[in-house]
């Protein structure tokens, strides 16, 4: 048990270290334009990580994770405009979003809504946000000093130093912040899934009734992981509106909701690094496709999703792990040890 925790965390630390190296190396070799673009991809990776946690580990089929992401971005932007500084705004974004998720989750989990309905309800919430905020273009739709701006959205004040609301961060600094947030969230989630809480959540994913019969209040655990996931998604939203410079209702679109699901499906449920990697890969794929008009983004993503559901349902990361394990099995002396290690590593 203990060795499995270390092993699991060891790979987490390995990837975190890679991230740190990338964080300091990238601005040295890449152009500023690429760095700004990367910031957006990192923000999306935080979103992917949050869904990897609640779907991949918690088994909660949330089709509307992007709602928390967008809500976080809007709350940050509106608060930052009103407060005249970003520090409290970031905190507000996480708290308000988590509170919203907790309220929604209360209705869902304590109503014992099943997973398929849960997906549809969360998706519906997202789409309602989409259509609601699109209508707020008039001058009467304002919160404090912040005009909501309808489908044009609001421009987001950049993050400033916590002790000086006058000194805004430059884009390359925002990149550092984003990368640091991603790495910290990744290590945090990697740790969380190995705590008692995380393990019970995995157990609930595997068999909710059995977890109940062992005396665990599964509703509470699901609500907990759902709320934490929403908070992380909100952080991603804060980074996103900083990277892009504004936030529009398009963040709540069906396309973005689908994209989040696709990252996790492609990367693999039950891993953390898989969905993060898939986010970067698909971000660059869609950027590359955006440059031409022959193949539409929707079309390509639709095909990817269908192919993965039908042919690679486990996703890339677990499939690769299985493949490596099956190859190593061929070396008889090491086979036993590997098999043991693999069973431990399975989470």
């Amino acid at each position: 048990m203990n060795s499995s925790l270390l092993r699991q965390m060891r790979s987490t630390f390995f990837f975190a270290l890679l991230g740190v190296v990338f964080m300091f190396a990238a601005p040295q070799v890449l152009q500023l334009f690429t760095i700004i673009n990367l910031t957006t991809a990192i923000a999306l990776a935080v979103l992917a990580l949050s869904l990897a946690l609640i779907w991949g580990y918690g088994g909660i089929l949330c089709f509307g994770q992007v709602a928390f992401f967008g809500l976080g971005a809007y709350v940050y932007t509106i608060s930052a405009i009103n407060f005249g500084g970003s520090t409290w705004a970031v905190l507000m974004a996480v708290l308000v979003t988590s509170a919203f998720a907790a309220a929604l989750g209360y209705f869902i989990f304590y109503g014992r809504v099943s997973d398929v309905y849960l997906g549809v309800i969360t998706l519906t919430v997202t789409l309602i946000f989409f259509s609601l905020i699109r209508r707020t273009s008039g001058p009467e739709y304002k919160i404090g000093n912040a005009l909501l701006g309808g489908f044009n959205g609001v421009s987001s004040p950049p993050i400033n130093l916590p002790w000086d609301s006058g000194s805004f961060l430059f884009p390359e600094h925002v990149f550092y912040v984003a990368m640091a947030v991603l790495i910290l969230c990744y290590v945090f989630v990697g740790w969380l899934v190995n705590t008692k809480f995380g393990r019970v959540c995995v157990a609930i994913r595997e068999n909710e009734l059995r977890a109940e019969l062992l005396g665990y209040d599964t509703r509470l655990y699901k609500l907990g992981i759902f709320t934490i996931g929403a908070g992380i998604a909100a952080l991603g939203g804060v980074l996103f509106c900083n990277g892009v410079g504004r936030i529009t209702p398009d963040v709540f679109s069906l396309y973005n909701a689908a994209l989040t699901i696709i990252w996790v499906i492609v990367g693999g449920r039950g891993t953390l690094i898989g969905p993060i990697g898939a986010t970067f890969a698909l971000f660059y794929l869609t950027s590359a496709l955006g440059g031409q008009s022959l193949l539409n983004n929707n079309l390509v993503l639709g095909i990817i999703l269908i192919i993965f559901v039908l042919l690679v349902p486990k996703g890339v990361a677990p499939t690769v792990v299985d493949w490596i394990a099956s190859r190593r099995k061929k070396t008889p002396r090491r086979a036993r040890r590997r098999r043991g290690a693999r069973a431990e590593g399975m989470e």
Binding site: E206, N207, A211, L213, G215, Y216, T218, G270, R339, M346
Partner: protein, 242 residues
Amino acid sequence: MTRQRGDVVVETRGLCMHFGGVRAVDEVDFTLFDRELRCLIGPNGAGKSTFFKCLTGQLTPTAGDVMIRGQAMTGAEPFEIASLGVGIKTQVPNVFDGLSAEENIWISARRWHDDRRARTLTAETIERLRLGDIRRTQLGRLAHGQRQWVELGMVVAAEPWLVLLDEPAAGMTHEETYRTAELIEEINKTAALIVVEHDMQFIRMISRQVTLFHEGGILMEDTMDAISADKRAREVYLGHRA
């Protein structure tokens, strides 16, 4: 009549579970004493499994009361009942298929203890149930009987004072059944048990007191020998099987 008279640990009064017009459990008064080992038997549809589900919180009774150690638990959620220190095994194996045998049992032990104690308990349970060979194997890859055993391990690891088992020997080999009977005897040293069973041979191995269900109610409560000798009982149950 009962060999171990102690405190009442489970009591139902006028317990009813109706599905539409079907009275699956009808006005059942039932009492279990501490350290007692009680088997519930009866033909298919007699209501014993439904009764079991009312006890474990999987079903909310239509009427009547369930008391566990004097606490009213009618309509409680399964986790609330389990949280009293009740170990439950359902009819269909309910295990965590994606986790290893060791992790399954750890999850159970961890509910009550800190990590170190939970790990010790897990190791002990694995030893006790002779699960060493499969401790690292994902449960989804194990045979039916082995998964049943892991589930029993989860029940044992929680150190319950009351154990409710629904058909623990179903689908097991002869050898496994024998070992299950042994395990139940052992659990009974520290806990009261209710065992729902079909397998008559198995019941003979473990039984002291037996409750015979028929058409949603209790037909009689006695030793297995007395029930086998009883004419009514043979008609409703044993006769059906012959």
